[in-house]
């Protein structure tokens, strides 16, 4: 029998807020997090902006010794995790730690620290502290979280970069389905670093002004950073300890375009397929979907392919579904994008507010859906999807539903 899985905790660090309430307020009000980069010197680049996290004050969260050992990515992950863990009341309630695990998605991980080490080595031939090298593995943030809270269940890290933390939520869900865990910490964390910035810059995918998803003037993405952590929990387990239930996780899909190393399949065939897989897995029909949190990177090709894919999956109804492109506010957080966007999707279900796509002014005839331009919208939202796509045509889609406490119905599986 399939186990029902709900979301009982949420935590965020982002350019528009370092806690869930701050983050959500900013999204609802359409505030943008783009600013001049400070984590490295951007002066040599054509573009100098990113959605950087600020006012975090690591001293308030960590001891001096911890600060030395933790990369920027680890800090974001731990802060968001603590918020999520606390909001799920798991700091007070006891749970079997052998059956609680962590699966996060990673992008560049703590490479900012590794960059520092190798910069010193290659430029000056100087060997810095080996503690900077601990972040060489993408698994470091995942391990930090598990070790801090003593979680001894299944643990892994997905590494599909732009879709990593979206995929990781699917993997975490499967851990609960397999009966290996009751509680899973999932989502992802990522920090800005010069390697990924220069990489996207070299591919000419970075917009010099702002991120304008689906707008005709769009020139590319604005890189962001942060962490989005969700606590997935088996329903009976959550009910037993009277945990706060924010939404139900209904299903997910992962598939490949098998088309090109960086470009998406232009007709949106892969996007259509992944949405169909997620819907079928969740046991819902296209007409049940009330809103979509788009991947919406604002690169010329992605937005067209995604629009086409949504149209292929939903047909005529596609134009009625409000879509939000929150990367216009938080930037493209790479390894944590899917996690942060999943948090926003869950909040949409909880509050009925669909966050806007800001900077939307000039419609593009090739992107002709309802992108919730510039102002958030209040709706009765029962089922919401969140899309993430990555380099190499790696597609992922999550389906969440409003949790009905009075419902005794088990979800029926469609075929």
């Amino acid at each position: 029998m399939r186990r029902r899985v709900v979301i009982t905790g949420l935590g965020v660090v982002s350019a528009v807020g370092n806690s869930l309430p701050e983050f959500w307020n900013s999204l609802v009000e359409g505030r943008e997090g783009t600013k001049e980069i400070t984590v490295f010197d951007p002066s040599a680049y054509r573009t100098r902006i990113a959605a950087e996290v600020s006012h975090l004050g690591p001293e308030a969260h960590f001891s001096k010794k911890e600060i030395r050992r933790l990369s920027r990515c680890d800090r974001f992950g731990l802060i968001a995790f603590r918020e999520a863990w606390k909001s799920a009341h798991l700091d007070q309630d006891s749970c079997d730690k052998d059956r609680a695990g962590v699966v996060l998605g990673a992008g560049s991980g703590g490479i900012l620290s590794v960059e520092k080490y190798f910069r010193n080595l290659y430029r000056e031939g100087k060997k810095s502290s080996p503690s900077l090298l601990i972040s060489y593995s993408l698994a470091t943030t995942t391990d930090h979280i598990a070790i801090e809270s003593g979680l001894k269940g299944p643990r892994s890290t997905t590494a599909t970069v732009c879709s990593s933390s979206c995929t990781s939520i699917g993997v975490a869900y499967e851990m609960i389905q397999m009966g290996l865990a009751d509680v899973m910490v999932t989502g992802g964390s990522d920090s800005l670093c010069e390697v990924s910035y220069s990489g996207f810059s070299s591919l000419k995918l970075v917009d010099p002004e702002s991120c304008k998803p689906f707008d005709k003037r769009r020139q590319g993405l604005v890189i962001g950073e942060g962490a989005g952590i969700l606590i997935l929990e088996e329903l009976e387990h959550a009910l037993r300890r009277e945990a706060p239930i924010h939404a139900e996780f209904l299903g997910y899909g992962i598939c490949a375009d098998a088309y090109h190393l960086t470009a998406p399949e232009p007709n949106g065939e892969g996007v259509e397929r992944v949405i169909r897989i997620a819907l079928a897995h969740a046991g819902i029909r296209p007409e049940d979907v009330d809103t979509i949190n788009a991947h919406g990177t604002a690169t010329p090709f992605n937005d067209i392919a995604e629009t086409r894919g949504i149209k292929r999956a939903f047909g005529e109804r596609a134009k009625e579904i409000p879509i939000s492109g929150i990367k216009s506010m938080i930037g493209h957080c790479l390894g944590s994008a899917g996690g942060i966007e999943a948090v926003a999707t869950v909040m949409t279900l909880k509050t009925g507010i669909i966050p806007p796509t800001i900077h939307y002014e000039v419609p593009d005839p090739l992107c002709d859906l309802n992108y919730t331009p510039n102002r958030s919208m209040q709706r009765d939202v029962r089922i919401a999807l969140s899309n993430s796509f990555a380099f190499g045509g790696n597609n992922a889609c999550l389906a969440f539903g409003k949790f009905n406490p009075n419902s005794k119905c088990r979800m029926r599986n469609a075929e």
């Binding site: 910069r119 070790i147 599909t160 499967e174 098998a258 190393l261 119905c409």
Partner: protein, 441 residues
Amino acid sequence: MQNAECGVRTYGGDSAIRNPWLPAGRRTPHSIMNDRVVITGLGVVSSIGVGREAFWENCLHGISGIKPVQRFDVSPYRSRWGAELPEIDFKAFIKPVNLRRMDRIGKIVVSAVRLALDDSGLDLKEANPSRIGISIGTGLGSSDTVDQFFRSLLKEGPTGAAPLLFQTAVPNAITSHCAIEYGIKGVNITFSHKESSTEMAMAFAYHLLREGKGDVILAGGGDELSEPLYHVYSMLGALSPGRGKGPEGMRPFSQDRNGIVLGEGSGILVLERLEHAKERGAKIYAEMAGIGLSGSTDGLLRYDLKGDSIARAMTSAAKELGTVDYISAAANSTPDLDRAEAFAIKQVFKKRTKEISVSSIKSMLGEFDGSGGIRACSVTFSLYYGMVPPTIGTSHLDPECDLNVVLGQSRKAEIRSALLNSCSNGGSNISLWFKRYDPEE
């Protein structure tokens, strides 16, 4: 649509949409599907042989892949050795149009996939591409490419950042290369969690197949030996000869071990739903029959110190503990891990411990995060041919590791089922359980 009875929308129903994740014509919801999963193809690119025959023969003869490192200058380090791949003509395995876009690790893994697919006899033109998936684990992926990219960035500034290097530098580029080369459109996922990366990739693939979310999944992974990697391991004090006595070398479970020797390579399994394998009359090597995952929390660079987490992973993987005759150990010549694993095995198998053959083929391949694919291929061969490969280099067992370790020479043995263990520093422990394939079951 509202359901009056409980006030919520019913999900699914008569007009349910076609599910690309379910086999054609299948009417059973996948939540109650419990397909058996079998191994129908093996691809190995290793330091002791490219291709399954060469690998298995050398493995049984206890040939070591460990030699002085050739690909880069190791003079700045205390260590000298590594298990490097031989020169490989990748043109023999990969289409020229795709080959020029791949970096070395991409080529290594795509070649292993080619070998595995050829071995399985799967006709990709006949198959439904949406029902063929790929699940890859890699600890550091393109570490060499990232390093090249970073060096030219430092030297020349932003103009030195090469777009082609960047797109192959992401860890999932390996998986994408495979998907593009073979037009595989099903599940596509990449894991990176230190030494348990590939085992996770196989575990996930196993679960998806059991639920019918695909017919075939290529699972495994690999890693390459690169200079930055050597540097990092050396700086973190993990490499042999470390601070210990004794010469440099890889000697799992040995009294005089003193750290690891790094290796490289890739191994891929063709995992397939039994029903699908039977339909196409595939050769079946063995069955994959269980997975166990657990975590330990002894420290970021520490293995499971007490072994209880490793024990939990083994118990949850092997549903019939009594049939386990062989364990391919994670032991990597690090005192902490060797002892914890030995302790865990004794804790799980109690009186039967001495009946179970144990070997660590890392003694021949060296240690690397993505070693699980090759080790899984070796376990599959062991079940198929009834042979256990040796642990080489070790002559005197650590008294705390008093297991039935197969030393020096391979051994003939009837193996009903076998466990493959993996333990990462930081504490992710995964065990995979493989069985001899029994068509009568």
